[in-house]
């Protein structure tokens, strides 16, 4: 039986245990700080010791084997990390890298790996190097060879794949062997344990380091890592494949994608797609076999990936049909734009738009009339290219689309055509009586800063001025006057200001009248005269309505204008779109 005396003893023991554990925690903090200081000191010393050797190696003045002999003295973890840091800094110094690793592995410009695969054709130090990226590719290959010679890669491979597989994989990697298109997880009774993070994280970190080698060397390891049961390891391998951009990795990544779509895959679709999107225009031909894949969602992802690749390339240069593989162009124009799956049609539009030829224009025209709103939306978004000026009437039709996102995209696209598109947009806006279309266009006019262009056009005279005036009157009627009132109160050219004051008079608000009163009192020039004139007109008009203009009564207040119900500034969900 538990006695109270025992309870005192138990409590004392428990309290003592807690105090001891707390002291252990405290000691651990001191130990950790001390260990970190020691680690960084050793690392810094190693970096100082080997800086010259690594610099000579990177400058191609010393070969792989002599450098390896020197660096083999680095044995502790801190020293090895110091060497890796130096090599990474050396690679980063060759060009401005996009990806620099925070880990102790190396991460080089994402293009480096891809270039490394062709760098075998280059000879070290022969003066045939043509660009910084090729220099990096070549250097990465040499660095990888150095890491093989130092035995680092074997160590990482052992951690990632076990002692048994490591030596075989290292051999295959050195031979730059091809891999089978298989990403099946190897079945083992130990898989449950291997999935535990305590075991999978070290493997993932090792795979991450292996993934930073030159693409030809890394590919074997990454392909092997896709058979790992742990999500962390496979995710790291997929990301590394995206960085290395080895052509042979595309089928593996697409297989991962297929698994995610058809069977379920713990590596996310987004991760795999992000890796695929890293590829370049020159790799598009490798995607061609999948454009007509029986799985419609895979077709969609493939087309969407190519869209991302081409749109990234399109930001730095103007693409044409010649930039795409012929087979891909035919497939897109004949099949993808007519695909039964609307998402495929929608994403095909963006690719087709990059062709910039008559056939592409015809395909886009057809897609602009597609029954599916997403197809229309994505198509109208990509037509904003001066080459497709002939499509302006079709884009104008999208302004009356039943879906607001399509209407919004159409406004943005018309803007991309410059004055030609804007004039068409303004004409349409002035003429339409549809509330939803008008609301959408007015929103875009405000959001995108078109008001400034409108006000400038007001004073320019001729057709442009008449059009701008019509647009301003329409906006005033709709109660979308906030920006116009700002313009009246601001110091814009006098002539434009006077015209704008006239336009706002079609539906004067209380705020407008108060601005007029201020102008009438403070401005002695033509603007003041105009304000006084408009106020007189307002007084005579409101006299008939028995109201006092100065108080704002007798005028529509707030944003409600003539022709629109109260609250027509868009509040509430429009029933259309």
């Amino acid at each position: 039986m538990l006695l109270f005396e025992d309870l005192i003893l138990i409590t004392v023991w428990l309290a003592t245990a807690v105090v001891i554990v707390n002291l252990v925690f405290l000691v651990f903090v001191f130990y950790r700080r001390w260990a970190r200081t020691r680690y960084y000191r050793a690392k810094d010393e190693a970096k100082e010791r080997y800086r010259r050797a690594v610099a000579d190696f990177m400058a191609l003045s010393v070969g792989v084997e002599p450098t390896a002999q020197l660096l083999r003295d680095a044995r502790s973890e801190a020293e090895k990390d110091g060497v890796l840091d130096l090599l990474r800094e050396g690679l980063a110094g060759l060009t401005t890298p996009r990806h620099v690793s925070s880990s102790s592995g190396m991460r080089t410009p994402s293009s480096a790996g891809r270039i490394a695969s062709s760098s075998g054709r280059l000879q070290s130090g022969t003066g045939r190097i043509t660009s910084p990226t090729i220099v990096v590719g070549q250097a990465l290959e040499r660095v990888s060879e150095l890491l093989f010679a130092l035995g680092y890669i074997e160590g990482w491979a052992r951690t990632a794949f076990g002692r048994g597989r490591a030596s075989e994989l290292v051999k295959r990697s050195l031979n730059k062997e091809k891999t089978a298109v298989s990403t099946e997880v190897r079945q083992s009774p130990l898989n449950r344990i291997r999935r535990m993070r305590i075991f999978s994280v070290p493997r993932a970190l090792a795979v991450d380091k292996l993934g930073s080698l030159a693409a030809d060397y890394a590919h074997v390891f990454m392909a092997e890592a896709l058979h790992d049961p742990a999500t962390e390891v496979r995710s790291v391998a997929v990301a590394a494949m995206g960085r290395a951009r080895h052509p042979a990795a595309i089928p593996l990544l697409l297989e991962e994608l297929r698994k995610a779509l058809e069977e379920g895959n713990d590596v996310s679709l987004r991760s795999t797609k992000a890796a695929l999107c890293s590829y370049q225009m020159s790799d598009l031909e490798l995607f061609v076999p999948y454009v007509r894949h029986p799985n419609r969602r895979l077709r969609f992802f493939v087309i969407d990936t190519m869209r991302e690749i081409s749109s990234r390339a399109g930001r730095s240069m103007q693409l044409t049909r010649r930039g795409f593989p012929d087979e891909l162009c035919s497939l897109l124009l004949e099949h993808s734009v007519n695909d039964v799956f609307a998402d495929v049609r929608a994403r095909s539009a963006a690719l087709v738009a990059q062709f910039r030829d008559a056939q592409a224009a015809e395909a886009l025209r057809k897609l602009l009339k597609d029954e599916n709103e997403f197809v229309r939306l994505h198509t109208v978004r990509v037509c904003g290219d001066r080459y497709y000026g002939d499509l302006i009437p079709d884009i104008l039709r999208c302004l009356s689309d039943s879906k607001w996102r399509v209407r919004e995209a159409a406004v943005g696209t018309l803007r991309a055509f410059g004055m030609a598109g804007l004039n068409e947009l303004f004409r349409y806006f002035a003429a339409t009586s549809d509330r939803y279309e008008s609301e959408q266009i007015a929103e875009e006019i405000q959001r995108t800063g078109m008001i400034e262009q409108l006000v400038t056009a007001l004073a320019s005279g001729g057709e442009a001025s008449r059009l701008a005036d019509a647009v301003c009157r329409k906006m005033a009627t709709m109660g979308k006057t906030s920006l116009l009132l700002n313009a009246v109160a601001a110091r814009i050219p006098q002539e434009a200001r006077i015209l704008l004051m006239d336009a706002l008079m079609v539906a004067p608000t209380a705020k407008y009248m108060s601005i007029l009163e201020t102008l009438a009192e403070t401005d002695g020039g033509p603007v003041g005269d105009k304000a006084r004139d408009l106020l007189r007109q307002a007084v005579s008009r409101s006299g008939q309505m028995s109201a006092t203009p100065s108080s704002g009564r007798g005028f529509p207040s707030g944003s409600s204008g003539r022709g629109f119900p109260s609250g027509s500034s868009g509040r509430g969900t429009p029933s259309r779109g």
Partner: protein
């Protein structure tokens, strides 16, 4: 006879309190062990991978940062500047002025050259209608909305209605988000094979830190004991409780000061509710319920490295108000969702997390407050409790807590290391002991008041005033009337 009955009752109460303390401490110990494992593993994994890939990827989804603001004129420009400078590929920032009586909107208009526009507002979740929109086409990612006062959940709903991105992140107007924090919050969403509807991060106390250009320029510790105890308490809550519940896939609380949500799911679930005073806890429960009822696969994650810094109350009065509100909100949410407690349909959430939050986190404070301050001393004085038992009580109520607090500081030192100086860590460890000797017991009283207010039917959102951070713009007032 009467004395005998009273002593008997005291005995029963003591047994109840003893069982409560044993269960609570066991529960926290298990959570501590799970957190130690999951946080250290995550830290190793995340540190090696970096976030450059995410920042460059076209696949990274856009995020709308929704900032509800009420009388935040002093802090709002710093907050928005920090948000504009966040390292994230595509973001929109929506500040919702919830009917401020100060110059919140005007300072934003002046600082970012915004102009008033008449924009379209499409209501997807119910909220009070906005009456003004401010925008600058040269800074298209920022929109400021003015609406009449309706409380924080209402302001968040307006933000949702204006957001165009598939995800949105709620950000308190007086919080500072670290530059990469949004990417870190998005990482689990990107790497998840199922729809991740909620992703939450850590909130830290900024008192004592130095601010520069809307960012924490120098991490420091506050001087007053109250603020220091809160620093330790936040470390414990965010390093222990939440990672462990996340590991068990039973996340029930994510701080609304910095939390990312999937917009479409929130809209389908009806948006933020105004029925509780802690909309952040409420939305999590609502989403769990909605998604379980639909039978959809989903994930809610808590990640231990994205950090948001916030200001803690400086005075005991403000602190009491904050804790009463939190407890009231927790009670409201737990009672609103009482059918989830011990309901196997909700998995580990229903079987573990909900009972823990209901009986230990929500109502347990009554036992802690009355047990520690009333029953235990009374029993000891009346000699109904022997010395051994009294010491055991004291150990369970005070002593064991030091282990948990010290463990959390140790975990912080082993993983995030946001406090660079050794003196900081030692001070934190000192307060990890000190906070168990009075602070936690005082907190228990405030929390108990919150529970009693719930039973009394009160649901007022109490005013919490902040003093402002060093290097910041000065005094701010965060006042929301529900």
């Amino acid at each position: 006879m009467e004395q005998h009955i009273a002593l008997r009752i005291l005995d029963y109460l003591n047994t109840l309190i003893l069982i409560y303390f044993i269960v609570t401490n066991l529960g926290y110990t298990v959570l501590m062990a799970i957190s130690l494992y999951s946080v250290t593993q995550h830290s190793k994994y995340a540190r090696s991978r970096g976030y450059a890939d995410l920042a460059d990827s076209p696949v990274t989804p856009p995020v709308a940062l929704i900032v509800p603001a009420y009388n935040e004129e002093a802090a709002i420009v710093d907050t928005v500047t920090a948000l504009l400078n966040l390292n994230y590929p595509e973001k929109e920032i929506i500040v919702v002025d919830d009917g401020s009586s100060d110059r919140t909107v005007q300072v934003l208009v002046d600082a970012f050259q915004l102009v008033r526009m008449d924009l379209i507002y499409r209501e997807q979740v119910p909220a009070k209608k906005p009456y003004a929109f401010y925008h600058n086409h040269r800074r298209p990612e920022l929109t400021v909305i003015s609406k009449e006062n309706g409380g924080k959940p209402d302001a968040l709903n307006v933000g949702i209605n204006m957001a165009r991105s598939p995800y949105f992140c709620t950000v308190d107007a007086d919080s500072i988000i670290e530059r990469d924090a949004l990417l870190r919050l998005m990482a689990p969403v990107m790497h998840s094979s199922v729809n991740t509807v909620v992703s939450g991060g850590i909130v830290r106390i900024a008192n004592g830190c130095k601010l520069k250009d809307g960012q924490i320029a120098e991490v420091g510790l506050p001087k007053s004991w109250l603020e220091m105890c809160q620093v330790v308490e936040y470390i414990r809550a965010f390093m222990f409780g939440r990672p462990a519940w996340n590991f068990l896939q039973a996340t029930f609380i994510v701080s609304g000061a910095f939390c990312m949500l999937h917009k479409e799911t929130v809209v389908l679930a009806g948006g933020f509710s105004t029925s509780t005073v802690t909309e952040d806890i409420d939305i999590i429960a609502t989403l769990h319920r909605y998604l379980r009822e639909k039978g959809w696969k989903y994930r809610m994650v808590f990640t231990s490295d994205p950090i948001c810094w916030t200001e803690a109350p400086h005075t005991l009065a403000m602190f009491a108000r904050q804790r009463r509100r939190w407890q009231l909100g927790l009670m409201q949410t737990v009672m609103k969702n009482h059918d989830m407690i011990l309901n196997p349909r909700f998995g580990t959430l229903g079987m573990l997390s909900m009972p823990f939050h209901a009986y230990i986190e929500a109502m347990g404070c009554l036992i802690e407050a009355f047990g520690f301050w009333l029953i235990m001393p009374l029993s000891f004085i009346l000699r109904s409790m022997p010395l051994g038992l009294f010491l055991l009580f004291l150990f369970l109520a005070v002593g064991y807590g030091t282990l948990l607090s010290m463990g959390s500081v140790l975990l912080e030192e082993a993983t995030l290391r946001r406090y660079p100086k050794l003196s900081h860590v030692l001070k934190l460890m000192g307060y990890a002991v000190v906070e168990n000797l009075g602070y936690r017991q005082i907190v228990a009283i405030f929390r108990a008041q919150g529970v009693l207010r719930f039973f009394a039917g009160m649901r007022r959102w109490e005013v919490v005033r902040h003093k402002g951070l060093e290097g910041g713009e000065g005094y701010t007032v965060a006042q929301h009337e529900a």
